[in-house]
């Protein structure tokens, strides 16, 4: 990789006064590579430069920033993350992570870098393109200009950081009227190296008029020592090295054009030492339907920014979220839905299961301006606390200036019901089984919404696995 070629001429002006941020930005710029095709290279470099320069005015967020009030980034800032993408992964290692439903519609990225060897797009359904940005021909990339890094909010700090190094990216492109029934699997692996690793995965999904597709976006880590999937075990077992810290800063942009339908499942299972900052930005046109199933199990500190911009009447948005955390984990979900036209609907249900001393944050914004009359927005956040030290901050935030709308919001914080536990135990279940049954039931509502059966199965297993170990740990 020839890093020199990618250095921006604006690099010096683009330096932020924030030392830490500046360091990260340098890493990003160092990683960005010029593409083969010169025309593409030019506009892509403009996109990167724009992102870099937008960072000049920024500094790392602190708890004084309203958007980061409950999420302290100082543990992340203790590390000097290096964008050193190279890592080799044996195909056998990822076998356990592939999905039979998407065996020939899979793209794999290791530390944000495309892996041709691990990917398989040999049998794509008709009417859809799935591939890596830097492998695309100029004729194809040309069409991406109106979409890539063109979402609202793309100057947000972490998104801009990702864009500044934009080289490899998963691209999914469905032609008009194409109904793609095979799910498309994007697998983003982190393989932390000696020094804390920075990886910046990127994806772009465009569903044209009346097209329909399903995408599964999965983040997980392989520990270097054995190169095997992270199953989320809490303390490293004796004799093993503790997991290494790394930072995944992911950005996914989705465009659902007129009458299109996108089902998006996002699974985040980073390691207990990983940091994960993720952005999902969605733009919806009239009559489009978007569903997000965001499942988050992992990371020491994780943040998911989910921004949906509805730019046409009768768009329909469904946001389902499940966060399952324990130990010292912190998981933060910030969602925002913004309307500009009437007659749109959205339904959001976000659940958190919080154990030990873990901390969950939920902030759900819905903006309904005057132009968005007859909007129908429902939002509910349910939290299940499994330990007295588990902690949640929830803040539904509806900003409604239209007057002819139906909007509702709700938040609940609860524990396992003593009555229900008692009932189960009176039927002969031991305490641990009874607890697990109730926790599974709480999570099941969300897992059931995932359309891919094999993934649904794996996820319910992971859910139980983590708890099983914990119960043993408790003795």
């Amino acid at each position: 990789m020839n890093a020199q070629t990618s250095f921006s001429s604006k690099e010096i002006q683009a330096a932020s006064s924030d030392q830490y941020l500046n360091g990260l930005l340098k890493q990003c710029q160092g990683q960005a590579v010029a593409l083969q095709d010169s025309e593409t290279a030019t506009w892509l470099q403009q996109v990167r430069d724009h992102a870099s320069s937008s960072l000049a005015q920024s500094s790392m967020p602190t708890k004084r920033d309203e958007e980061w009030r409950f999420t302290d980034l100082s543990p992340l800032m203790q590390h000097d993350f290096q964008a050193d993408g190279e890592a080799s992964v044996a195909p056998s290692t990822v076998e356990g992570l592939t999905l039979p439903e998407a065996s020939t519609t899979r793209l794999v990225f290791v530390n944000g870098v495309y892996s041709h060897q691990l990917s398989d797009v040999t049998d794509l359904p008709k009417g859809v393109y799935v591939g890596n940005l830097s492998c695309m021909s100029a004729a194809h990339t040309y069409r991406l200009q109106n979409y890539l890094a063109q979402q609202e909010g793309s100057e947000e700090l972490f998104t801009a950081l990702n864009t500044a190094s934009l080289t490899d990216a998963a691209v999914i492109w469905a032609a008009p009227n194409q109904i793609v029934e095979t799910p498309i699997h994007l697998l983003f692996l982190s393989v932390p190296g000696e020094t804390p690793t920075l990886s910046q995965p990127r994806a772009l999904v465009v569903a044209h008029t009346s097209a329909s597709l399903e995408v599964i976006e999965q983040y997980t880590s392989l520990s270097e020592s054995e190169n095997r999937p992270n199953t989320g075990e809490l303390p490293a077992r004796q004799g093993e090295l503790p997991a290494r810290p790394y930072l995944t800063n992911a950005v996914t942009e989705i465009w659902a054009e007129e009458n299109a339908q996108v089902t998006h499942t996002r699974v985040q299972q980073e390691s207990q030492q990983g940091f994960h900052i993720g952005k999902s930005a969605i733009t919806q046109s009239r009559d489009s339907r978007y569903t997000c199933n965001a499942i988050s199990f992992g990371a020491r500190l994780s943040r998911h920014n989910l921004d949906v911009f509805c730019h046409g009447s009768q768009s329909d948005t469904n946001l389902n979220g499940l966060t399952v955390i324990r130990g010292e984990q912190l998981s933060d979900t910030h969602s925002a839905i913004a309307y500009t036209t009437p007659h749109c609907t959205s339904d959001q249900l976000h659940k958190c299961i919080i154990d030990d001393r873990a901390h969950a944050v939920f902030n759900g914004k819905v903006f309904v301006p005057k132009a968005a009359q007859l909007t129908n927005a429902a939002q509910l956040n349910r939290n299940l606390l499994l330990s007295p030290k588990a902690h949640v901050n929830t803040k539904p935030q509806l900003q409604i200036t239209a007057d002819n709308v139906q909007c509702s919001h709700g938040a609940t914080v609860s524990q396992l019901e003593a009555d229900e536990l008692f009932y189960l135990r009176s039927r002969g279940l031991n305490e641990s089984d009874a607890r697990n049954l109730l926790i599974d039931a709480f999570a099941a509502e969300m897992l059931q919404r995932i359309p891919t059966p094999s993934l649904r199965k794996t996820l319910s297993a992971s859910l139980r696995e983590g708890r099983g170990q914990k119960a043993e740990g408790r003795g």
């Binding site: 329909s212 007129e258 009239r286 339907r289 768009s315 009437p342």
Partner: protein, 263 residues
């Protein structure tokens, strides 16, 4: 189906209308006979949805010229409920959510308003429920829908199917479907299309306003009209829709422009 000597159900002549002083229909002419299915297509803002609202008598629109003859009578002065009771049905582009009013109650009151108009006795709650459940089959809806508040929390597909259910129940002489197909996934689209086909009879007529060509793969129109700038600029058979799908609207617009310049 086109039949000779069928009754004219709807005749729109030189219809001109405005909303808050802005002209939005500029002389629409349309004749719909019993047994026929018409499709009206056009870009955003071409006036196609406005036409449906003007026909149904939405209070926001002011008719400035022309006439609407429905079942042999000029209905311009009629209130929306009078037009409905006369047999005009509009399936809404955006069916409204009405909390607190159950779907069943709504359907019953609507159905009985019509019976009252016809000088019939109101149907009692039990008989009515039987009748509705029979109709539910057509749109593959679960009877539990009836207990829920009208359209509240319904998915886009459920709302549109509910519109077709209402049409099945009220058996109108003219069903106007205002973009009933938009926002539907393929399965819901097929159900809606099937419902429309089942309800089309020799003595009634259907006008389908649509933004997308896809529904015309399932419901075969006798006539296709294209609207632009508040007028019907071209009409043809079902092959016109296919041509639109392939060539877009530009060629029609170019033709329209050259027509105007030729004049």
């Amino acid at each position: 189906m086109i039949r000779e000597n069928s009754n004219v159900i709807l005749s729109v002549r030189n219809l001109t209308a405005e909303v808050e002083g802005t002209p939005i229909l500029n002389g629409v002419n349309l004749e719909v006979k019993a047994g026929e299915i018409h499709a009206i297509m056009g870009r955003n803002g071409s006036g196609k949805s406005t036409l449906s609202k003007v026909l149904a008598g939405h209070p926001d629109y002011k008719v400035t010229e022309g006439e609407i003859i429905f079942q042999g009578e000029n209905i311009l002065e009629m209130e929306p409920d009078e037009r409905s009771l006369k047999g005009m049905f509009l399936a809404f582009q955006y069916p409204l959510e009405i909390p607190g009013v159950s779907t069943l109650d709504f359907l019953r009151v609507a159905y009985n308003s019509q019976r009252k108009q016809q000088g019939l006795e109101e149907m009692d709650a039990f008989d009515f429920e039987d009748l509705v459940e029979e109709k539910l089959e057509l749109v593959k809806m679960d009877p539990s829908f009836l207990e829920r508040s009208l359209n509240e929390g319904f998915s886009g597909g459920e709302k549109k199917r509910n519109e077709i259910l209402q049409m099945a129940l009220l058996e109108p002489a003219l069903g106007i479907l205002d973009e009933t197909d938009s926002g539907l996934d393929i399965d819901a689209l097929k159900i809606v299309a099937n419902g429309v086909n089942q309800l089309a009879k020799p003595d009634n007529a259907t006008v389908m306003i649509t933004h997308y060509q896809r529904i015309l793969n399932y419901v075969e129109p006798d006539y296709v009209h294209v609207m632009r700038d508040g007028r019907i600029v071209t009409s043809g058979g079902k092959e016109l829709a296919q041509e639109l799908e392939e060539r877009g609207y530009e060629w029609i617009e170019e033709e329209a422009v050259s027509e105007v310049s030729a004049q």
